[in-house]
Amino acid sequence: MNLYPVRAIYMAEMARTRRTLLQSIVSPVISTSLYFVVFGAAIGSRISEIDGVSYGAFIVPGLIMLMLLTQSVSNASFGIFFPKFSGSIYEILSAPISYLEIVVGYVGAAASKSILLGLIILLTSNFFVPLEIAHPIWMLTFLVLTAVTFSLLGFIIGIWADGFDKLQLVPLLVITPLTFLGGSFYSIDMLPPFWQTVTLANPVVYLVSGFRWSFYGISDVSLAASVAMILLFLTASLATIAWIFRTGYRLKP
């Protein structure tokens, strides 16, 4: 692997983040704070504790996941969609670089951004609720794996989308609902039995559960199931990207 092209792509993407700092970093932080005010303070005052964790603290992992998923997808999808849209992708495709290098550059940048964001939200949360992290290594592992996996998904969406509307569609219609219904703000055993079963079909449940376990040692599903789910996602995304580049889907006529 030649490192110059990867670095060029990575740095250009990070520079884009700096230019849109407000949009990339500040606005998710603000909206997270709003979630705390609404869910943590207003609703939390009526819900005492879940499994011995205060409601405000309970929602922190879910909130980070929510931001991690939506931001990874939107950053990575925009990152590759924009050159496609502006035409400057000709340069990427005619460069002496492998597909792997392209992906590492774009997805690496998007994931770095999300990880940074996740950590910033973690710090912000600390102002609202006392935090404890039972398994910091696992916490970071989940953070990184989730950021990378959903940046890969975003990359796929960016290649698939042929207009701005489609670019918005998947995050809006798929990611956000799944996250909200994925136990970010509640424990799934608060649901009626039927809905508990339905919820188990939602992959985000496994991510939130595993991530929350790394904080408080409590989970809706087993750790193994969480890890398996995220690795499954990762593999599926990688396989899809390999297929995209092999066939030139939406990239090379």
Binding site: N2, Y4, P5, R7, A8, I9, M11, A12, A15, R16, R19, F82, P83, S86, G87, S88, Y90, E91, I92, L93, S94, A95, P96, I97, S98, G248, K252, P253
Partner: protein, 311 residues
């Protein structure tokens, strides 16, 4: 001289909708030459370049760049190539310096600010190096695309319709850069649908029409063969027949004898005849004219000719 740097063999491209944009293209580009690919809109020029540069997957056939297959050894093939695309692209928010440096890195080269500086200066972009692309005019943006293509010191440069909609100054700067590159041994392939442009710059010219290479010739030979011009003189008094002294193949009467039409190319001048000789003869013969204009055969005429010649 036979030292090919690009060899294209049996190239076919059928787009998804079933449209065949290239059919059985065989073409060899010699190291260090300026090659003009001439053809009307939709002939397949951009498609051909795109296949060589890896932007379009060929349906059949293959391309070898400096000894490397463009698919199986794409790294070696592509690092030798710089491409200036036909369409302006815009990464609006980048600065000139950053976008050109980015291109160099993308092509796997270590940073070299001195080279970037040289390229920017040669394209009159140095003063604009800290400007964002969106603040530049169309001509400036095109200069930036050229700078990007030169950032990684390519051995082969593709210019896809470099002068379409470009002002005189940029044309001049561009040709200076191109000549400088050629002097340094860079091979240049440009596409155009202006015959004057091919005439001005190229060593060899290939004509492409409907996805087929119709002919490839040394420029001088081609211009003599095809680049005929017409001089039309509007006479004061109509002639019914040409005076015997003036009779030659190239002269004829038109518009009921009110116009004298002289059809010529490079040869007459070489043979000591040509326009000035003709005008002297007319004066001697006492034939006066009130107006004159010349017309160069357009590429369209040439295509008509070419298609006519082919069985």
């Amino acid at each position: 001289m036979n030292d090919p740097i690009i060899t294209i063999e049996g190239l076919n491209k059928t787009y998804e909708g079933g449209f065949q944009a290239l059919s059985r293209v065989d073409l060899t580009i010699q190291r260090g030459e300026i090659f003009a690919l001439l053809g009307p809109n939709g002939a397949g020029k951009t498609t051909l370049i795109s296949v060589v540069c890896g932007l379009v997957n060929p349906t059949l056939g293959h391309v070898v760049v400096d000894g490397y297959d463009s698919v199986s050894h794409y790294r070696q093939a592509r690092e030798r190539i710089g491409l200036v695309p036909q369409e302006l692209t815009n990464e609006a928010f980048e600065t000139v310096w950053n976008t050109v440096s980015f291109s160099r890195g993308l092509f796997g080269k270590s940073p070299n600010p001195a080279h970037i500086e040289k390229v920017l200066k040669s394209l009159a972009l140095w003063d604009k190096r800290n400007n964002r692309l969106m603040t530049l005019s169309g001509g400036m943006k095109r200069r930036v695309l050229i700078a990007k293509a030169l950032s990684h010191e390519p051995r082969i440069l593709f210019l896809d319709e470099p002068t379409a909609g470009v002002d005189v100054e940029l044309r001049r700067d561009m040709w200076n850069v191109v000549r400088g590159l050629r002097d340094n041994g860079v091979t240049i392939i440009l596409t155009t649908h202006y015959i004057e442009e091919a005439e001005e710059m190229a060593d060899r010219i290939g004509v492409i029409n409907r996805g087929e290479i119709v002919l490839v010739e040394e420029k001088a030979a081609l211009m003599n063969k095809l680049g005929s011009k017409q001089l039309t003189l509007q006479l004061h008094t109509p002639l019914t027949v040409l005076p015997a002294a003036l009779e030659q193949d190239e002269l004829s009467l038109a518009a009921d004898g009110y116009e004298l039409v002289y059809t010529y190319d490079g040869r007459q001048e070489e043979e000591g005849r040509g326009i000035s000789a003709l005008l002297t003869q007319l004066e001697k013969a006492g034939i006066g004219f009130k107006d004159l204009h010349t017309r160069q055969s357009s590429l369209e005429d040439i295509f008509v000719d070419l298609v006519k010649e082919r069985p």
